[in-house]
């Protein structure tokens, strides 16, 4: 379904990004794996993709640095010859109560989770406009819609991503580029493993489907948005959250 397409997935060494990279490869895409720090894990993902018979490579890059992002996108286009799918997934958390939140905690999260999406989107747009086609998929979060105590920085960034998604969708629609967001609910990853049992129990009560999500749930949604079947959707935020926020 995605044969011959090239995808770039940011933050793809683990968690949701890793699952998305693997799913896109399963559907036929060649996938560039971006990582910030976990080189060994990124290499494992690339090896797994190559074992499926697709092409893959790893690229270290801090998505909040515009020069590095430009270089990364150039490298991907040079190596694969096209860039059809961008998954803006890289993200960090620096949780703290608003009153205790340090300026640095705020800036770090906004820079990676929001500015990073802007920079990567801007960098791929040139190629996608020339191709007259492209799919940009931003991984937001359900808390960007609902709010969440202790995550003012993260929530602000994710709500920002949802707004950015809508604007980019409107600007780029005439050039055949769709831009959508996915808002995952509680998905079991390294990021959520850090939460206490007490918090997890409380969250479970808010999920109508009464279970936590798996990174695969997000991966198949991203693959759908990247596929031919998703071609009439743009500017949307899909809630993949077991019904948490309706």
């Amino acid at each position: 379904m995605l044969e011959g397409k090239t995808a770039l997935v940011t933050g793809a060494s683990r968690g949701i990004g890793k699952e998305i990279a693997l799913e896109l490869a399963r559907q036929g895409a060649n996938v560039a794996i971006n990582f910030a720090g976990s080189e060994a894990k990124a290499n494992e993902v690339a090896d797994e993709i190559k074992a499926m018979g697709r092409d893959s490579c790893t690229i270290q890059c801090d998505v909040s640095n515009s020069e590095s992002v430009t270089d990364m996108v150039k490298a991907v286009i040079e190596r694969f010859g096209s860039l059809d799918i961008l998954i803006n997934n890289a993200g960090i958390t620096r949780d703290n109560l608003l009153m205790r939140m340090k300026e640095e905690e705020w800036d770090d999260v906004i820079n990676t989770n929001l500015k990073g999406v802007f920079l990567c989107t801007k960098a791929v747009t040139r190629q996608m406009m020339k191709q007259r086609s492209g799919r940009i998929i931003n991984i937001a979060s359900i808390v960007g819609v609902s709010g969440n105590p202790g995550q003012a920085n993260y929530v602000a960034a994710k709500a920002g991503v949802i707004g950015l998604t809508k604007t980019a969708a409107k600007e780029l629609a005439s050039r055949g580029i769709t831009v959508n967001a996915i808002a995952p609910g509680f998905i079991t990853t390294d990021m959520t493993d850090k939460l206490t049992e007490e918090v997890k129990e409380a969250m479970l009560k808010q999920i109508p489907l009464a279970r936590f999500g798996d990174p695969k749930d997000i991966a198949v949604t991203a693959a759908f948005l990247a596929s031919e079947g998703g071609s009439y959707m743009t500017g949307q935020t899909l809630h993949v959250d077991g019904g948490m926020v309706m």
């Binding site: 040139r126 406009m129 020339k130 600007e171 005439s174 050039r175």
Partner: protein, 77 residues
Amino acid sequence: MAEVLERVTKIIVDRLGVEESEVKLEASFKEDLGADSLDVVELVMELEDEFGMEISDDDAEKIVTVGDAVSYIQSTM
């Protein structure tokens, strides 16, 4: 001069679907040639490819007319 104008004109005619006779040096891309903001961004991208140069965002914003594009390209050649 003539050669640059000729190459620039061809790109504008292809991209904006206007008549060659409309592409005058004083013609504004947006006012006279029916381009929207995104068309101008794309034109600049094509000029970069055609002439093998990089036009910074600051410089690109100053390119309003056909003449602006031609003289910018000539100044960097």
